[in-house]
Point group: none
DNA sequence: CTTAAATATAAAAATTCTTTCATTATTGGT
DNA sequence: ACCAATAATGAAAGAATTTTTATATTTAAG
């Protein structure tokens, strides 16, 4: 939808690092705004709502720790701290005052991108998928429909609840017990039946499931993509 | 309360690392159990409920990734992966399959302790309420029970789903339409009926609701506190 | 105070979902 | 290849939930 994945504020007094980070993150499809001090950052967050802040701890004037401590509770934005190598006490404090993650310097840019993406994923708990498509199958949890090779199947509440979980954790195994907990069903045999029914809707060939597979001894898994 | 901060399972095929980690974490007031393979770990988690799992990615037999993927959904336990330096694709996968954090090897033990503490903190404060109490009423969504003045009522899935939403947005009005969407019910009259049933369980005097009130023309609201 | 619209409620009817059961198929280990 | 354990499945029984119906009650407005 948006051209950028997220809008990130990078705060560091060191021009070199700041520009390096900016460049690297930009290449990775983030929109970057920079600030060279906590005070500068403070001003910018009062104007723009960022998706995440990358913040150097050690800066002249107000430190990254102070900034985090003062602002974390007023804004909802996740913060990643850049900390000095070895100074683990800094990191402890950082997490204590509300930072979401930290990265000891010097760091690999890749690492930063990785941690950013991870946090954005977690905080964006709103990005729960409700409509997915793969091969010739479309699952629409809003309309409670599965369309498979032009055939249309209704799904019921139970099936919806299971799919909701599985779709948002593809490749992860769900034991019968855990599925039972999700949908408040007690008997494990009932879950077999529900899976059989689901397969008839999802699978081209239900007898030889491609997507909703059995993990013998463990449970079931949804493979998409 | 407990003598230890948390019970942690350390999984690594390398005896040296495993023992080193164990020793260091023990010194930091964690109770440590070890496993030397994913298979071994699997057995142990079936017996003991750990607070956290530290898991090497690269192991003979089942890899840490596979273990995470297969088990993350069935246990509720946070997982920290130990990954090879440089192998950032491993880390991406790790997070994708549900790991909560990772640490590239070689790592400083201090760093591990820090990340463990951070995760334990976060997971402790999941703020979705599932058990609440007010006046003489206790609602337990886990046990699917409402206890009101020593009377005990079962609640069904529909009721649970509605309460789940309302409890976490008290004071917010829910239109019949929005309730219907939550529980996949079409007819608005049916929702009247469901509310009536709920009131019999929650309210001391269902005819004169104190908690689950009607907002004429708009819907219903749950007032607690 | 009356009235019309909205809500409440009990009970029955209709529908949907869960469980059971009997049988067959598949899988992994020896 | 064989065995035992696990899983799949169709059909039917059993339970539970949703919807309808019919009637009563409450509310806001004039």
């Amino acid at each position: 939808m948006n051209k950028f994945d997220a809008h990130i504020l990078v705060v560091d007094d060191d021009d070199g690092i700041r520009e390096l980070v900016k460049e690297y993150l930009s290449e990775n499809n983030f929109l970057i705004t920079t600030a060279n001090s906590a005070e500068d950052a403070k001003e910018k967050i009062s104007i723009i709502k960022f998706d995440l802040i990358v913040l150097d701890i050690m800066m002249p004037g107000k430190s990254g720790l102070e900034f985090t401590s003062e602002n974390k509770n007023n804004i909802n934005t996740p913060i990643i701290l850049l900390t000095a190598k070895g100074e683990s006490s800094e990191r402890v404090k950082g997490l204590e005052v509300g930072a979401d993650d930290y990265l000891p310097k010097p760091f690999e840019p890749k690492e930063l991108v990785l941690r950013i993406k991870n946090i954005l994923n977690k905080t964006k708990s709103k990005n729960i998928k409700r409509i997915i498509q793969f091969d010739n199958v479309k699952i629409d949890l809003n309309k409670l429909l599965i369309i498979q090779n032009k055939k249309e199947f209704k799904i019921n509440r139970t099936e919806k609840t299971i799919l909701e979980k599985m779709i948002n954790a593809p490749g992860q195994t769900f034991s019968r017990e855990s599925i039972g907990k999700i949908i408040d069903i007690e008997k494990e045999r009932s879950i077999d039946v529900i899976i059989t029914r689901l397969r008839k809707k999802i699978e081209i060939n239900p007898k030889n499931p491609k997507y909703l597979q059995t993990i013998r001894g463990s449970g079931y898994v949804l493979w998409i993509e």
